[in-house]
């Protein structure tokens, strides 16, 4: 993987980011209109991390994500329709309506789940990487997690185990500077919550501009190369920002004035547009990509919405591998 990126590639990445952005906008609107219930954690602003990482990896490489995982799911090949159908509790949803926004999963393409307990998936990603090594494949696994997750015990255990076993796993922190409503700096002893901890495990680390899809892609490519060469894990800390509040209807009043605005100037789609333009892409081409994204998502909303509701029988399937839920014998 070279560090240059063809313009056509970049335009494709831009379009994927636009699809994610538009899908989340739809999710937000549907939540506000009561068609999406429970909770959502929108990743708008984080798109470049997921899309850049996926672009640097190969088919079959594994991803593990969090409750804020729409962007990872779509980057790993879930369609906006599957995702929105899931959010709207349709039987056509990615998880048949059994998972919801916090658990989007597309196992067929290696996106092995979104987990809603902070940090829990880091050891799992290490385990998937271990498995790749045991099976003799050259797959890598990547765990995406937030800055807040760096203070939980599972983070420490996962990084140490992965380091000692030199596993092909990438720990990609999306540092958006907040846990739910609390600034990460106020509860974290390291200035760089992820990268600053890497030396503790003898791991290489890189801080990367998480709003620049090319920067992410290149950093992940370097890390993946090390991992596939048997040189073990890397910690990447992608600095980014979430445009919405933490979840649902959080107005994010805890943010200092002007902070969001400053970050919006560096919106990943803006950054990518600038890069495209400076590489010679015309505005109409960029617009066309964004229009295609919009069209895909608009159609997805309509189709997802028209889908059948979750099948009530599904409440009692999928507990066991035999498809059922029997916990006892009956006479």
């Amino acid at each position: 993987m070279t560090e240059t990126t063809a313009v056509t590639d970049l335009l494709a990445l831009h379009e994927t980011m636009a699809v994610i952005r538009r899908t989340e906008k739809a999710a937000h609107d549907l939540f506000m209109s009561g068609l999406v219930k429970g909770t959502t954690h929108l990743a708008a602003g984080h798109e470049a991390v997921a899309v850049g990482a996926r672009a640097a990896l190969r088919d079959g490489d594994y991803a593990f994500a969090t409750y804020r995982g729409h962007h990872h799911a779509i980057a790993w090949g879930a369609t906006p329709e599957e995702c929105l159908a899931e959010l709207m509790q349709r039987s056509t949803g990615l998880n048949k309506g059994k998972g919801g926004s916090m658990h989007l999963t597309k196992a067929a393409t290696g996106m092995l789940g979104s987990y809603a307990i902070v940090g829990a998936h880091l050891p799992m990603a290490a385990g998937a990487a271990w498995s790749a090594r045991l099976r003799g494949t050259d797959q890598v696994a990547v765990a995406f997690f937030g800055d807040g997750a760096t203070n939980i015990g599972a983070f420490h255990e996962a990084l140490n185990l992965a380091a000692v076993w030199r596993l092909p796993v990438l720990f990609v922190c999306e540092n958006n500077f907040y846990m739910e409503y609390t600034p990460i700096g106020s509860v974290t002893a390291a200035e760089q919550p992820a990268a600053g901890r890497a030396p503790s495990y003898g791991l290489p680390a890189e801080v990367v501009d998480g709003n620049d899809v090319v920067a992410v892609r290149n950093a992940v490519a370097r890390a993946a190369e090390r991992a596939r060469a048997g040189d073990g894990p890397t910690v990447l800390e992608a600095r980014t920002y979430r445009h919405y509040g933490h979840s649902r209807t959080d107005p994010a009043t805890y943010r200092p004035e002007g902070e969001l605005e400053r970050w919006l100037e560096r919106d990943p789609l803006t950054v990518s547009s600038i890069r495209l333009r400076s590489a010679g892409t015309r505005d109409v081409e960029i617009q066309a990509a964004e229009d295609r994204a919009a069209a895909v998502v608009d159609a997805a909303v309509a189709t997802a919405r028209a889908g059948p509701p979750a099948d009530l029988r599904e409440a009692f399937t999928d507990v066991w591998a035999d498809g059922g839920a029997a916990w006892r014998t009956t006479s």
């Binding site: 899931e86 203070n151 939980i152 015990g153 739910e180 979750a310 409440a315 009692f316």
Partner: protein, 327 residues
């Protein structure tokens, strides 16, 4: 006062505030509980009133939260720790299962651990498998922890008073589905003692034993059954430990029929323990099979309609009672 009502949610903050005013050794800690007022807004106003030396925001470190609370409780403080969703008790389970409940016993009584762990419990809101569980039965497996789970705003305040004043560790379950519910405010100085079930409705035909979210369910079912001529008595346990078995047996002396309504799963649910006490000590009181309306033995699905399939509902409670009517 007659028509002044408060929410269950507000009552949490009110209950804590009353104790903090009374006793300077009460301090709070948890994620986003300070200026943000908590994810469920159950600590709103505490930071403003008591300041950062008594209301502490923590990192996402459930083990450190309850572990530090334990150390502080052993050395003269009365910490009130929040674990945001009860599902996350799993992230600090060692402290709940192995440390906090055992240290007094294994040191031969050398230390006391007067702490409260508050947590938002239960389902019905479409939060999915990892944010919806009723896990009071996890805690119920551990000797050495007291367990409270109020169903009304005034019980929230009264049970919090007992919990915070208790020299024993208490796990305090605030039900997410009840937070927006309203009721009469707690009178000044309101204290609800642990281990006293409340009779929420009297009736001579069947005893419904309920807790937290299942209290309104049982009451609604009782309403419906009344129209069918069945008089159900509804018992709100209020605390699981101490468990007011005596109240259950007393009620059964009159009704001879028992339905336990619990949100946690049937397998390993607390209702099993109650039924086993009854099947032993109250065997001769029983005129009919004992029923448990409990969570299904599956993880909790996201879609509302699916979730309804697997958690207790008014329909399920009423059906269970009706199935006993033939006896």
């Amino acid at each position: 006062m007659a028509d002044h009502v408060v929410t269950y949610r507000e009552s949490v903050a009110e209950g804590i505030a009353r104790e903090m005013r009374r006793d300077p050794s009460v301090v709070c800690l948890g994620e986003d509980i300070g200026a943000a007022g908590g994810v469920f807004k159950t600590t709103v106003g505490l930071f403003e009133e008591f300041g950062p030396e008594r209301v502490w925001d923590t990192p996402i470190s459930e083990q450190a939260i309850v572990g530090a609370a334990m150390g502080a409780a052993m050395t003269g403080m009365r910490p009130v720790a929040e674990i945001m969703f009860s599902d996350f008790l799993a992230c600090c389970w060692d402290y709940l299962a192995n440390e906090i409940p055992k240290v007094r016993y294994m040191t031969g009584g050398q230390v006391t651990v007067p702490l409260v762990i508050r947590t938002a419990n239960g389902g019905g809101l479409g939060f999915g498998a990892q944010h919806s569980q009723a896990v009071e039965n996890w805690v119920f497996t551990v000797p050495g922890l007291k367990i409270a789970a109020p169903s009304t705003p005034s019980d929230v305040v009264g049970l919090l008073a007992s919990a915070i004043r208790s020299d024993d560790p208490v796990v305090f379950f605030e039900h997410k589905g009840l937070l927006a519910g309203k009721g009469a405010p707690a009178p000044d100085g309101h204290v609800v003692p642990f281990g006293e079930a409340a009779v929420r409705r009297e009736g001579g035909d069947v005893t419904l034993v309920a807790l937290a979210s299942t209290v309104p369910l049982a009451l609604a079912a009782a309403d419906r059954l009344a129209a069918e001529g069945v008089a159900a008595e509804v018992l709100d346990l209020r605390t699981l430990i101490p468990l007011d078995v005596a109240a259950v047996l007393r009620s059964l002396e009159r009704t001879s029929r028992l339905v336990v309504v619990e949100e946690n799963p049937y397998q390993g649910g607390w209702g099993g323990t109650i039924v086993s006490v009854v099947a032993d000590e109250g065997f001769e009181l029983l005129d009919a099979p004992v029923k448990r309306v409990a969570g299904a033995n599956v993880p909790l699905p996201f879609a509302d309609a699916l979730e309804d399939q697997v958690i207790p509902t008014v329909d399920k409670v009423a059906d269970a009672v009706r199935s006993l009517a033939t006896y």
